[in-house]
Amino acid sequence: MQDDLIIKTTDLTKSYGPHVALSKLNLSVPKGATGLLGPNGAGKSTFLKTILGLVQTTEGEGTVLGLDIRTQGDEIRSRIGYMPEYDSLNPDMEAIHQVRYSGELLGMNPTIALARAHETLQYVGLGEQRYRNIGSYSTGMKQATKLACALIHDPELIIADEPSNGLDISARNYMIETLTNTVKTGNRSVLMASHLMDDVERVCDNFILLHKGKLAAQGRIEDLKAFDREIEIHVWGGASRLEDAMTAKGMSVRREGRVMRILHEQEDTTTHILQCAADVGAQIRRMHEYEASLEDLFLSIMENLGYEVKSSEDLLASPVQARKVDAPEHMGGGSS
């Protein structure tokens, strides 16, 4: 539904001279949490700047929260909270005053901004540390302060650029929980750019994958993972024979030593596996369904996808074919 979209772009293009940073992006980002993925140089930063209304688009159009990114940049920035990837805090200021000031920069009354700064710092877990100078904070505390700055005016959309960058495990977990909580109980939307697939998977329901300024894939993480389900078996004795037997039966097998992953294409795939094992006399010590992580999928897509826009729907329609459609010829793609 149109009303449920927080970001929508149509043929969005941004060029810096001859360099095309974003090429004809057609995106529909629904409410909730969405992960923005892509390798370095994919156009993530340009995309964020474009939807913040900070750079003019070369072509195409887009809306954020129903506001035009070409003409209503100020209003967009009033209604979203941006958490930058890099340091954006004055180390000589106390966190409470830094967060208060960030609220004042949005037009909040100083008294209200101070009250709200207390609330948001409490929310991000810095309640007892809020009168300390930011310079004395750990990386996790600085990240939390940046999040508090983004949340001070209770924005409808929070853009978090690498929120768990450089954090240790506990701080990272806390950041992820906070973002999840903001989406689930706060009913806010989050657009999270990250290279940590695990974090994106924990927070987000949807994803956008950019590659060389183009949309490589978008959709629900669940759907993306569903199309590539495999069965993992641990084999003892006769692994090679079993692999040959399964391949001969037309099953798609990936093998690493005694561990094999077989594409779960049909309901009776497990029966076929067991039958093959019985035929060749190999022992299957362990068998379970293997669910690929987002990272696996990301790497797989980046490896195989070519240079044309591809949505997850295309990928889902015919997984193996779709992966090869636009890939370079040496990778098995071409004119299918």
Partner: protein, 346 residues
């Protein structure tokens, strides 16, 4: 008190010579005496353990309204100005604040002397320190000590980190990811720095003028006679503040720290002055004054206020043109550099 449920029926315990004396047996003997208490239930006063939650993360919504542009700009101005006086705003640093205080007090020297001369009725002292064309000029544009030790140093200290620190700490993202335009950002920073200098130069100038009126009992005729001079001095001061601020901020915008903009501003103001002075003495040519912001300001100030000109080889309009060019270049650099400040990474 919490019920722990029924105690299991105790096993019969046999006491015999060969029975080992273990803790278990002794406990069984003590607890289950098999004398009709099998149906008793055990009661414990121990409070059951529960997982408490010290901190409950709860998102609180806010339904307030955001104020318009002027309020956002006021926030930037307030942040920089109040930082001079109190905590919680821009941290200016103790040495800077102390120096500002010293300069403020030192700039009031002519005010103090005017008050003293008025109080003791010494006309000789008053003729030296009282309000006059030359003294008004000297309050703003006198080279030593004001434009050697006070105002350029103050400008250098103020502009040092105003923009460069936003680049260094990445705090520019805090501004530009909010509805703050680059123009508003620069304008408010410019006005903040200029206002602090204004407090030191213009406020002390006004106090000087009003001290003369108060202590010498000047009437309307004197005020009408001298007020244009006062306004001309105010205009010269504004020109000085504008020039020092624009050059200083442009240096701050190309830098990543405090030191370079400060020292570069001092070098430009004092270095060109020294260079022009040397050239003038060695070759009897004053053309290099056109490169010195201070000399150009002084030349234009002398012309506006009407004091005895000390730069008489060229017309003061050349100095004015030079000032316009200097400010134009500085503002161009400033606007270009601020336009290039990033939000996503710096």
């Amino acid at each position: 008190m919490s019920e722990l449920g029924e105690v299991p029926k105790p096993m019969p315990v046999e006491f015999a010579a060969e029975a080992p004396v273990t803790g278990k047996v002794r406990l069984d003997a003590a607890w289950g005496s098999t004398e009709g208490d099998e149906d008793l239930t055990a009661a414990s006063t121990t409070v059951g353990k529960s997982d408490g939650q010290i901190f409950k993360q709860q998102y609180k919504q806010w339904n307030g309204e955001l104020n318009p542009r002027w309020m956002r700009n006021w926030a930037i101005l307030r942040h920089h100005l109040l930082g001079i006086f109190k905590k919680g705003h821009r941290p200016w640093g103790i040495p800077i604040r102390l120096y500002l205080l010293v300069v403020f007090v030192a700039s009031l020297s002519d005010v103090g002397m005017t008050l003293v001369s008025g109080l003791i009725g010494d006309s000789g002292l008053h003729s030296v320190w009282g309000v006059s064309r030359d003294n008004l000029y000297a309050h703003v544009l006198g080279f030593f000590p004001r434009n050697m030790l006070y105002y350029p140093v103050v400008a250098a200290l103020l502009v040092g980190g105003v923009i460069s620190e936003d680049r260094q700490h990445g705090t520019s993202a805090l501004y530009f990811s909010r509805p703050i335009t680059r123009f508003d950002y620069v304008a408010m920073k410019f006005i903040s720095v200029a206002m602090i200098q204004g407090i030191l130069i213009l406020v002390t100038l006004a106090l000087y003028y009003f001290a003369e009126i108060a202590t010498m009992g000047r009437g309307w005729a004197w005020i009408i006679d001298t007020f244009p001079l006062f306004l001309a001095t105010v205009f010269s001061a504004l020109l000085l503040i504008f020039t020092y601020t624009s050059i200083g901020l442009s240096l701050s915008s190309v830098s990543n720290g405090k030191f370079f903009p400060g020292i570069a501003l001092l070098s430009i103001i004092l270095g060109t002055k020294v260079l022009a002075f040397i050239s003038s003495n060695l070759f009897d040519r004053e053309i290099l004054y056109l490169l010195s912001p201070y000399d150009c300001l002084a030349h234009v100030g002398q012309a506006i206020i009407g004091t005895q000109p000390t730069y008489d080889q060229y017309s003061w309009t050349w100095s004015l043109a030079s000032l316009v060019a200097m400010n134009g270049i500085a503002l161009y650099v400033l606007s270009t550099r601020v336009s290039s400040m990033e939000v996503t990474r710096e």
